[in-house]
């Protein structure tokens, strides 16, 4: 485990955090590459099932952001 980078699955709201991530990219800011982004139409689309499914399939952590 120690030599492997953790995978963080992030669920980002299309209108908020996804926009922020986009802006961060456009502004050439740097952020850790451990974050794997899934864009959801709204944080209201989020379901506990998604979090469990992510963990079950081997994500190290889950980050939900609206």
């Amino acid at each position: 485990m120690a030599d492997k980078e953790p995978k963080i699955l992030s669920f980002l709201c299309n209108w908020c955090s996804y926009g922020a991530a986009d802006l961060a990219g456009v502004s050439r800011m740097e952020y850790p590459s451990n974050i794997r982004v899934i864009r959801i139409p709204c944080t209201g689309r989020m379901s506990p099932k998604f979090i469990l499914a992510a963990l079950r399939q081997g994500a190290d952590a889950v980050w939900v952001s609206g």
Partner: protein, 319 residues
């Protein structure tokens, strides 16, 4: 309990005779001891099968989901709260129901009694005056205090009297206060453990689970037309007895009951291998009380906390 039984029969007969309801839902003696069955009486003649004692642990609210008939239903404190949850969720109309309220004195834990017995229990007698339960079978007979063999959820219950009813069968019993009952002692015990210990505790708890879904079927809240465990595309949870699958099932099921569970104990009672499913649901019940000041099923007007937004909702988990 004879007085309760007689009164239930009397009310049921009257309701059916006056054509106030199409059926009355209550309990009748089961084919095995300690397990009374739900029974639907549709005519006056059938009413005599009704019984009431300390083995009526099934939750009758389970049987009124989406029903169209006018129903008379026997309901204890927790059952009546589940009925209220049903009304709030639009699963039944309040005016369809005539609720026969039972001031409840707790149900006996069949798992505890089975563990005490030296063999199969063939019959159970209850002595109301002495407050004892006598179990007997081939070659043994044993008497215990009812208080000792109460279901855990009954011994910590703070809503024994029905919150919603049209008629009571007896005078209300005195309620325990939250201080006396200390309902969350067990949850605190688990909360105090380290993450690894908690993990081990639940591993151990669920090691016997055979995925029979008895807990789901006994639960009045589990009325989804299709349960997430039966969905195959996408498949959220495997169907095997793999420990991860079992854990996923129990976690999600508990979560679906968050803010709705009334701690009636039907899940624990129905479990064939005696898993204390309430270790999951009780935690969520405690959270709802602490975070939102909410207890499920106390009235039929208020929407549950996970279904509404209030500016004062706690949000300290959000960065």
């Amino acid at each position: 309990m004879k007085s309760y039984t007689d009164k239930i029969k009397e009310i049921a007969k009257r309701l059916l005779k006056e054509d106030k309801v199409d059926m009355v839902i209550g309990y009748r003696k089961g084919t095995v001891p300690l397990m009374h069955q739900p029974f639907f009486a549709t005519s006056e003649g059938e009413v005599d099968s009704f019984v009431w004692d300390s083995n009526c642990g099934l939750n009758l609210a389970n049987y009124i989901t989406d029903r169209k008939e006018r129903i008379g239903i026997v309901a204890t404190g927790c059952n009546s709260r589940n009925i209220a949850v049903h009304v709030v969720e639009g699963k039944i109309q309040r005016d369809q129901l005539y609720i026969i309220g039972i001031p409840c004195q707790g149900m006996v834990d069949r798992h505890k009694l089975a563990a005490m017995a030296e063999g199969n229990i063939a019959s159970v007698e209850e002595d109301e005056d002495k407050g004892t339960i006598t179990i007997s079978g081939q070659g043994f007979s044993k008497s215990v205090d009812k208080a000792e063999v109460l279901q855990e959820n009954c011994s910590i219950c703070v809503h024994r009297n029905p919150v919603l009813c049209d008629e009571l069968v007896a005078d209300e019993v005195t309620e325990q206060t939250r201080e006396q009952a200390d309902p969350y002692a067990r949850v605190r015990e688990i909360e105090a453990m380290s993450p690894d210990d908690k993990w081990a505790h639940f591993d151990d708890l669920l090691s016997d689970c055979i995925r029979c879904y008895a807990c789901r079927n006994a639960c009045p809240l589990c009325y989804c037309p299709q349960c997430f465990v039966d969905e195959s595309n996408p498949q959220w949870v495997g169907k095997s007895v793999d420990p991860t699958d079992i854990r996923t099932f129990h976690l999600l099921r508990a979560y679906h009951c968050a803010g709705r569970c009334t701690d009636c104990g039907a899940c624990v009672r129905s479990c064939p291998v005696g898993i204390n499913v309430r270790d999951f649901t009780k935690k969520l019940e405690k959270d709802c009380l602490e975070l939102y000041g909410w207890e499920a099923g106390l009235n039929t007007e208020q929407r549950p906390p996970l279904d509404t937004y209030k500016p004062e909702d706690p949000e300290d988990f959000i960065k």
